[in-house]
Amino acid sequence: MFVKEGIIASPGIVIAKALVYEKVIVEVNKNKVEDPDKEIEKFQNAIKNSHEQLETIRIKAISELGEEEGAIFEAHAMVLDDPEFVEGVEAEINENHLSADNAVKMVTDRFYEIFDQMDDPYFSARAADIKDVGTRVLQNILGIVQADLSQLDEDVIIIADDLTPSDTAQMDKKRVKGFATNIGSRTSHTAIMARSLEIPAVLGLCDITETVKTGDLMVVDGLTGRVCVNPGSEELEFYEKEKQKYLDYLKELEELKDLDAITLDGRKVELVGNIGEPNDVAGVLKNGGVGVGLYRTEFLYMNSDVMPGEEKQFAAYRSVLEAFPDGPVIIRTLDIGGDKKLPYLPMDDELNPFLGLRAIRLCFKEVGLFKIQLRAILRASVYGHAHIMFPMISSITEVRQAKAILQDCMKELDDEQVAYDKDVKVGVMIEIPSAAIAADIISKEVDFFSIGTNDLCQYTLAVDRMNQEVSYLYDPFNPAILRLIQLVTATSDKKDQFFTGMCGEMAGDPLAAVLLLGLGLDEFSMSALSIPQIKKIIRSVRYEDAKAIAATALNMETGEEIMDFVQESMKKLNLYI
């Protein structure tokens, strides 16, 4: 029995037999060949076979994993037909008398390196595609048959160095119950695939393919990032229990899904999701979110080579609004600048980008761009409950300026006789300390606030949390932060029809939930996966108790003290995280 720790890539616990999926190490023939024509023929046959295999995989991928996954293999087939690839290989064979296998490896490696070195995620993904296709052609030339995972007769955990789209697409999804690999990260293909198949995965185990044999009984614990190989009866019993606990927990969360986020004494709050693109809506609905508290529209801009036009934006906003006929959808206008840039919008390098031309400030400079977005949101507003939110507001002047531009857009639409929701709600992010301190002033111009704790912490505590030397100072529980939050919620409480939400990471932190509830927050917006847990906490506490906890915390001296106190209080109330 032994235990190894790796990177948590997909949650859950599985106990099953290991299947070591070893990639045959491809050895190419490096000698000069006598008969290039024969090598050309080998190469062409391999291309033909690869085409046939890819078509089979593509059909399987579309039916089991969806169109998007199927498209990967269409791209692979394009590489097989690509003249630079085909002619490059043929030239190596004809001119340099390389073997077909050697020539394919050489040309594949050449392209792989070019793409891999480009500083752009789009091209890095192409590099992986090229490698996957090159390996396929090579195996076809050399007659290597990769282990077939498409029909398995028992449940298995796949042990591999790494898994490519070609590997995962052909797997028998009913039998594959977990992954454990040598390399990989939370964002690698293996991790994404495990989460979409909802099976546990632990990656980055370095040498798991060396230390586990096919047939070994093992546990993959995607909750703690451990794998346990050949567990003894004691460990087995332990993991069976942990697994059951996790399943019970999931069931409990599932039961909570359609219930309100309401305290024992009747205070109701709204739990909503943070999304980056329309596809994320599914996760929010699945986890019981009643709306969207933060739609980060910058992804629409960053995932495009050109400025997204009004129609494209309108379609995206409309689809999100239609998904929530009863709930709010808070659309944050473009938040670019700082560390986020657009390839098609030249921006000067700045000495202090986070204090510079970003978000609303950039939109005031690029009014044309800003108006396209506002028009798209207004047009979409008739399809649901659209809320427009301006980021990086430091004073009421900016709110007025932004609203004047919004008025211009409304007038344009009136002139064009295009419909929009005339009562569309307008709000601001509270992420600059000046906005929190002057919340009462700013509130005169808006319908809601949403506190962005990530930036609020950064600006209030003057700490760059990406800088490891100082990141220890980054603490949302710091009394100064809690007091700023309280200033904002106190303003909001005094006004009718006004609400204050939070869309920073703190809103999804189970330790902060009771505190924020007690501070009077009306809406919590978080990544979809956090919603059930926060709902469970809110449904288990009394608002009066939460208020008392918050009041005490506000008078404490340090973040550490506050965190200990909250933990203690939660224990006393029998609240477990």
Binding site: D82, P83, E84, F115, D120, R126
Partner: protein
């Protein structure tokens, strides 16, 4: 053979979408078409070649075509670049 020099104007150069528009347009013609960048010749019908070519904004390239429809081919590709790929 027809050849013409042209400077890439659009902001992203021959990045993902422009590269694929360029290759698709080249593929409509029967002629052999090549892009010459700093003395290197790239097959204009190869998406891998064009993307790997690193043709960024401000790069001057030469487009060469040889075949029955060589004039139309070069004109179409030059126009695509001058129109900044419709951006």
């Amino acid at each position: 053979m027809i050849k013409k020099e042209v400077t890439v104007l659009n902001a992203t150069g021959l990045h993902a979408r422009p590269a694929s528009m360029f290759v698709q347009t080249a593929g409509k013609f029967k002629s052999k078409i090549f892009v010459i960048k700093e003395g290197n010749s790239i097959n204009a019908k190869s998406i891998m070649g064009i993307m790997a070519g690193g043709i960024s904004q401000g790069t001057t390239i030469e487009i060469q075509a040889e075949g029955d429809d060589e004039t139309e081919a070069v004109d179409a590709l030059v126009q695509l670049i001058n129109d900044k790929f419709g951006e």
